[in-house]
């Protein structure tokens, strides 16, 4: 464990009684004193503060926003060019086979693109961007800032108490706020299905800002355990599990993230790795699809459970990629891949759990209604 990295809030986690676990090379809090179930519920009811400083923050800068956006569009099948200043969008890096190398958030921050990528992929992502895009544009990892996520219905009131402009932001807006004299790069987004913010602050101010947010009676610190159950109920993908280098965006049910201008017949059609496969699948469909799955019994079904069309079928038609108990849903919840022919909402399939075939229903995602400030 000696080579585990720590975030700037490591001491704060320990002082809050966090149980720490290795995650993506970092020593991270999996839960605090409340425990996973209550942390999950608290986030849905009030507000939770998450340390997500292990994620990669990257500034991509050209002569203009346009130049940086055009460069990134060579790696990402998303309309980055026409993203308005102060707005954010979801995207992913694709590979030549049409698979997903990582998923990410992109923001137009005026003269540059601000990119947030997954911790486990950040070195590869940054190397990928540098080798493909430099020197025409500059790819700079921002190492001097922590990243916090404040999530839940009370988030607006909590953050607006520090800077009232937080209340004026809509879902997927980005802005620079002044939090106790500190310049914070803030987006109104997150990974829980709740209203909330992601807040990038300079290293030296990170602990003070985190403490200022935690000082609010509605805010509790929340660990990775609840982060996972919250995002699963919200139907959001965990990279490396629900999507990976072998799943295309069409298979991953992420076609909503590929705007028309990048599709066949669009003004900037294709031009990203794997475009041939992805554009073809957009027109004709893919052989398998990511779906929501609701186990009909009480037994949670987790990653790796194989799925079958009937109780006796020999050959699996898919597999669960994320699963567990949904504290807000009040029942087990899962996501996985199914052969497209079996992926209709309402279809019954069978998961093989400890030698028994147990029924699941293909369900609409999310399992709990999204609560965004549109």
């Amino acid at each position: 464990m000696a080579d585990l990295k720590t975030t700037l809030l490591h001491n704060l986690h320990l002082s809050l009684g966090a149980k720490m676990v290795p995650f993506a090379g970092y020593d991270m809090p999996v839960q605090y004193a409340l425990d996973v179930m209550k942390e999950h519920q608290h986030t849905r009811e009030k507000a939770g503060l998450f340390d997500v400083s292990h994620m990669g923050q990257v500034v991509v800068r050209g002569d203009s926003y346009t130049q940086a956006a055009e460069a990134l569009e060579r790696l990402i099948p998303v309309d980055i060019l026409s993203l308005s200043e102060g707005r954010q969008r979801y995207g992913f890096f694709t590979n030549e086979a049409g698979g997903i190398e990582d998923d990410l958030m992109l923001a137009n921050r005026g003269d540059h693109v601000f990119v947030v990528v997954n911790a486990a992929c950040k070195e590869a992502d940054i190397g990928h961007m540098k080798s493909a895009l430099e020197p025409a544009v500059k790819v700079e990892e921002i190492t001097g800032r922590a990243l916090l996520a404040l999530q839940g219905p009370a988030s607006e009131a909590v953050l607006a108490a520090l800077d009232p402009r937080a209340a004026e932001m809509r879902f997927m807006d980005v802005a620079t706020l002044d939090l106790n004299g500190v310049e914070a790069w803030v987006s109104r987004s997150g990974y829980t299905g709740e209203d909330g913010y992601e807040i990038s602050v300079p290293s030296e101010a990170a602990e003070d800002i985190a403490k200022a947010l935690l000082a609010h009676e509605d805010v509790e610190p929340i660990g990775l355990g609840a982060r996972d159950s919250l995002r699963l109920e919200a139907g959001l993908c965990l990279y490396g599990h629900d999507i990976d280098t072998t799943t295309t965006p069409v298979e991953g049910a992420l076609t909503w993230a590929i705007q028309k201008v990048r599709r066949t017949g669009g003004v900037r059609e294709g031009g990203f790795p794997g475009a041939e496969t992805i554009l073809k699948q957009l027109d004709t469909g893919a052989p398998r699809k990511r779906v929501g799955l609701k186990p009909e019994g009480r037994a949670p079904m987790r990653e790796g459970v194989e799925l079958f069309a009937t109780e006796n079928a020999d050959v699996p038609i898919g597999q669960i990629t994320s699963g567990g108990f949904g504290p807000t849903a009040g029942h087990p919840v899962a996501m996985g891949y199914l052969a497209t022919a079996h992926s209709q909402i309402g279809t019954t399939v069978y998961g093989e759990l400890r030698g028994k075939r147990l029924p699941l229903t293909v369900a609409t995602l999310p399992f709990t209604p999204a609560n965004f400030k549109r």
């Binding site: 996973v36 949670p300 108990f325 504290p327 087990p332 400890r354």
Partner: protein, 119 residues
């Protein structure tokens, strides 16, 4: 009452052994959301995985502490798995078994030894 290193407790009730998990184990598991028990009449061998406990965090197995036959299971846990957190030492017993060999009982810990283990 005896305790195993797997954090089970064993209580003699007439000629039967009642088995559950300790308060310490329940705390470590976190909120229990599902318990799968063996069937009444199952013949089990010591160290067979016969109970599955699912918490919000993970699935854990409970091992048969002795050879024998399952004669009763705690049906209430199917509808109220949270009892494992609320009342692990009494109401949330898992099963009662008729042991065919009680000799391992001598090797299991008494309360003082168990308390030392978890200290």
């Amino acid at each position: 009452m005896k305790f195993t290193e797997e954090h089970e407790w064993l209580r003699e009730e007439g000629e039967l052994i009642v088995v559950g998990i300790t308060e310490h184990a329940a705390e470590q598991l976190g909120d229990v959301v599902f318990v799968e028990l063996p069937d009444v009449g199952d013949t089990v061998s010591k160290d067979d995985e016969i109970v599955v406990i699912e918490s919000v965090k993970a699935a854990s197995d409970i091992l048969a502490p002795l050879d024998g036959e399952i004669v009763e299971i705690n049906e209430a846990l199917a509808d109220e798995p949270g009892k494992v957190n609320d009342d692990p030492m009494e109401g949330a017993w898992f099963f009662k078994m008729k042991a065919s060999d009680l000799s391992p009982m001598d090797e299991y810990m008494d309360e003082a030894a168990y308390k030392k283990l978890i200290a």
